[in-house]
């Protein structure tokens, strides 16, 4: 697989073709989103990863990749907080299982956005709902 060889530019059309031809499980959408992420195409990565999480709200890698999209945005626009659609903000906890790592990622994003108190709130949730180390 091209991603393993870090040839994401070759992988991108392969994933797009797979989806176009109907082989479209959440894992393929996730890897397409990851591929867009490596390409630096944030908007495409966000759309694709949102679709990933619609298909499988329990897919851990999708959440992490989606957090990476938000991380890139926060780094590009300091002070901009994750949007209400951000899966890592744990605001989707009604539709997705609560997971400590999402709260931890949200804490990181809010910290980078300069919102220390909000970040601490999420970090506390991560601690209360499980370990801050595993998934």
């Amino acid at each position: 697989m091209s991603l393993r060889q870090r040839q994401h530019q070759k992988a991108t059309p392969q994933f797009e073709q797979a989806i176009e031809e109907g082989y479209a499980p959440a894992e393929v959408w996730n890897d397409l989103g990851y591929s867009y992420l490596l390409d630096g195409d944030g908007p495409a990565a966000q759309r694709t990863l949102d679709r990933t999480l619609e298909l499988d709200p329990g897919l851990q890698a999708g959440y992490h990749n989606r957090a990476m999209v938000d991380l890139l945005r926060v780094q590009k626009h300091p002070g901009q907080v994750p949007g209400p659609d951000c899966p890592t903000s744990a605001r989707r906890s009604n539709s997705a299982p609560a997971r400590p790592s999402c709260n931890r990622d949200a804490a990181t994003l809010y910290a980078l956005a300069g919102q220390q108190e909000t970040a601490l709130d999420y970090l506390r949730q991560a601690v209360e709902h499980g370990s801050t180390q595993g998934k």
Binding site: M1, L3, N30, A67, S101, T108, L112, A119, L120, V127
Partner: protein
């Protein structure tokens, strides 16, 4: 409670920044991403 004590300390901006840079951010950046890529290089 130990957790309360830790969180109280984390209101210190310098300490919090250190936590973010040394623990939280590396964890976010180090997460696995590709699912169809099971073989580790």
């Amino acid at each position: 409670m130990k957790a309360d004590y830790v969180f109280e300390r984390l209101h210190d901006k310098a300490l919090f920044k250190e936590l973010v840079n040394k623990l939280l951010l590396p964890r976010l950046l180090g997460q696995p991403c590709g699912l169809l890529d099971p073989v580790k290089d």
